[in-house]
C-alpha cells in the first residue's frame, strides 16, 4: 500500500480538522490596539476582523490539546500575501496571532516574514486576562526530529532566535525512498562540519508543554528566490504537532498548507557545536 498521493508533502500526518468551534463567536483583544471578532460560521468558514471590517475566509482549524486550537486562513486574492494564524487557548482565554507576509520584500519577493500579536479573549463577563502567551527559552539547546510521513526533518532549537536543521539516517532513508534525486539536494545535506543551515526562530510558550514555534526560510529565499514560513503548534506530552507552511516554491506556486507530524527527541549536539556560518553573535 502507498499513502494517498494527493496529500501534500507535509500534510500526510496532519490530524483531521476540528469542527467543535462551529457556531461560536469570540472577541479577541489584541495588544496592537485593535479588537477583532472571530465567528466560526460553519465547518470551513469564519468571519474575522475589526468592527465593520470583518471578512469571510475559508479556514483550517486543528486541535492540539484540550481547548487549544490552531486556526489558519488567508484571503487568496490578496497581494502582497498575508497569511493569518490564530492560536486560541480557551483554558487561559489567551490568543496569539501570527501574520505572515510574502511579496513585500523588494529585493527578495519570495522571502517570507512574520509578525506576532498577543492578546486575550474576552470572557462572558467582559473581562480580558492580563497575562499573555510569551517568548520562551525553554526549547533552547534541544532538538526534535519530526516525521511528516514522507519527510523527516530535525529542528534544532539552537538559540532563542535561531534554529538549525539536521536529518537522521532514518529520515534520509525515508526521503530517498522513491525519490533518489533528493540525494543531490543541498537542502537534504548540511553534513560537513563547516556547513550548517541556520535561520530565524520564534519560540512562544502557550502553556506548559505546548509551544508555538515559527521557523523562517530567509537564507534559503536569498539563495533560491523562494522560501517558507513554517509555524507549528507542538504538544510535547504527545510528541505531536500541527501547523502550516506558508510561502512559495521553485515552480512559482503559492502554498499555505496545514500539516502535522510525530516527533522524537533528537541528539543534536554535533549540530549545536557548529559555528554559525552567517549570523554574528
Amino acid at each position: 500500500m502507498q499513502p494517498n498521493q494527493s496529500t501534500g508533502m507535509l500534510s500526510v500526518f496532519r490530524p483531521p480538522l476540528c469542527f467543535e468551534l462551529t457556531g461560536r463567536q469570540f472577541t479577541l483583544v489584541f495588544d496592537d490596539g485593535y479588537d477583532r471578532t472571530l465567528v466560526f460560521k460553519d465547518r470551513k468558514k469564519i468571519s474575522f476582523g475589526t468592527a465593520g471590517e470583518e471578512k469571510e475566509y475559508d479556514c483550517d482549524c486543528l486541535k492540539i490539546a484540550d481547548r487549544c486550537y490552531f486556526v489558519n486562513f488567508e484571503d487568496p486574492t490578496l497581494r502582497p500575501r498575508l497569511g493569518i494564524t490564530l492560536v486560541l487557548d480557551l483554558v487561559q482565554d489567551l490568543v496569539t496571532m501570527a501574520l505572515a507576509h510574502l511579496y513585500v520584500n523588494p529585493k527578495f519577493p519570495g522571502m517570507p516574514s512574520i509578525d506576532y500579536v498577543f492578546g486575550g479573549i474576552m470572557r462572558e463577563d467582559g473581562t480580558v486576562p492580563a497575562a499573555r502567551h510569551g517568548y520562551t527559552t525553554d526549547l533552547v539547546g534541544k532538538s526534535i526530529s519530526w516525521n511528516y510521513g514522507r519527510f523527516d526533518i530535525a529542528h534544532v532549537y539552537a538559540t532563542e532566535h535561531y534554529y538549525r536543521v539536521a536529518f537522521t539516517a532514518r529520515g534520509l532513508a525515508r526521503a530517498y525512498r522513491g525519490r533518489p534525486e533528493l540525494r543531490q539536494s543541498q537542502n537534504m545535506r548540511y553534513t560537513a562540519p563547516e556547513d550548517v543551515y541556520e535561520d530565524y526562530f520564534s519560540p512562544i510558550k502557550i502553556r506548559d508543554r505546548i509551544y508555538l514555534v515559527g521557523l523562517l526560510e530567509t537564507v534559503k529565499a536569498q539563495k533560491t528566490g523562494h522560501g517558507n514560513s513554517v509555524l507549528v503548534l507542538m504538544n510535547l506530552d504527545g510528541m505531536h504537532d500541527v501547523g502550516r507552511s506558508f510561502g512559495s516554491n521553485s515552480e512559482g506556486g503559492n502554498g499555505n498548507n496545514t500539516l502535522g507530524a510525530f516527533g522524537v527527541w533528537h541528539d543534536a549536539s554535533d549540530v549545536l557545536a557548529k559555528k554559525s556560518s552567517l549570523f554574528i553573535r
Binding site: 500500500m1 539536521a166 553534513t191 505531536h240 522524537v264
Partner: protein, 203 residues
C-alpha cells in the same frame, strides 16, 4: 510475557505514547446502533480518525461513528463489527510494515493468518545528525534488551476504502487504521493514542 497491544507498544509504559486530544464534537448528539440501541454522547473519550469519523470509548465499549452527508451518525459497535472476521482483509494479509505508537519506538509489524506479530525494529531511530547516505550512522547502543516478538490474534474488517478496524479479541483492544494516510488511532487503557505505519526504509 506481554500479550496485549498497549504494553507492547509502550514497552511496558516506559515509552512516551503519541497522543491527541479528545474531541467534543459529539457532545449532546445521539444515534442508534444497528441493533436499535440508542446511544447519547456526552463527555466520553473520543478521537477523530478523519474529518467525519470518530472512535469513542463508551464505558469501555469502543464505538466507531461516521457522520453521514445528511449530518446523521452511523454508529458501529467495533466488537460486534469485527466478531465474525475469521481472516484478514486481502489488503492486510501478508503485509509487512513498521508501526509506531510511541516516540522513538518503531516496531516491525507482520499481518498474517489472523495475527499481528510485532517486534522492535532493528533500525536505529535516533542517530547522529551528521548521518548521510555516504556515512551511515552507527546504531546507538540499546539501553535495555529488546523485547521479544509478540504475536497477537487479530480480527480486522475494512470499514471503508483503505480504512480498517483492527480488534484484538483476547484483550478487547481496538485500533483504527487509515491506510490512505498511514495513520493509526486507538483508545487504549482509557487514553487516546495515535501512531503511524510505514514501509521499511529500504529501497
Amino acid at each position: 510475557m506481554v500479550k496485549n497491544l498497549f504494553d507492547y507498544v509502550s514497552d511496558g509504559g516506559r515509552n512516551l505514547l503519541f497522543g491527541l486530544p479528545s474531541t467534543e464534537e459529539l457532545v449532546g448528539r445521539s444515534a442508534f446502533l444497528p441493533d436499535g440501541t440508542e446511544v447519547r454522547f456526552g463527555d466520553e473519550l473520543a478521537v477523530k480518525c478523519d474529518d467525519d469519523l470518530f472512535l469513542i470509548d463508551m464505558a469501555g465499549k469502543i464505538l466507531l461513528a461516521e457522520e453521514l452527508p445528511d449530518g446523521s451518525l452511523k454508529v458501529l459497535d467495533t466488537e460486534k463489527t469485527t466478531a465474525g472476521a475469521s481472516a484478514l482483509p486481502e489488503a492486510l494479509e501478508g503485509w509487512e510494515s513498521e508501526l509506531s505508537f510511541a516516540s522513538g519506538y518503531i516496531l516491525t509489524a507482520v499481518f498474517e493468518d489472523g495475527t499481528l506479530t510485532l517486534s522492535p525494529s532493528p533500525e536505529p531511530v535516533v542517530s547522529s545528525p551528521f548521518a548521510s547516505d555516504d556515512e551511515p550512522a552507527p546504531p546507538e547502543a540499546p539501553e535495555a534488551p529488546a523485547a521479544p516478538p509478540v504475536t497477537l490474534s487479530l480480527q480486522a474488517v475494512e470499514t471503508g476504502e483503505k480504512r480498517f478496524l483492527l480488534r484484538f479479541p483476547e484483550t478487547g483492544e481496538t485500533v483504527f487504521l487509515d491506510a490512505r494516510r498511514f495513520l493509526l488511532y486507538g483508545i487504549l487503557r482509557g487514553r487516546i493514542v495515535a501512531g503511524f505505519v510505514e514501509l521499511p526504509p529500504k529501497e
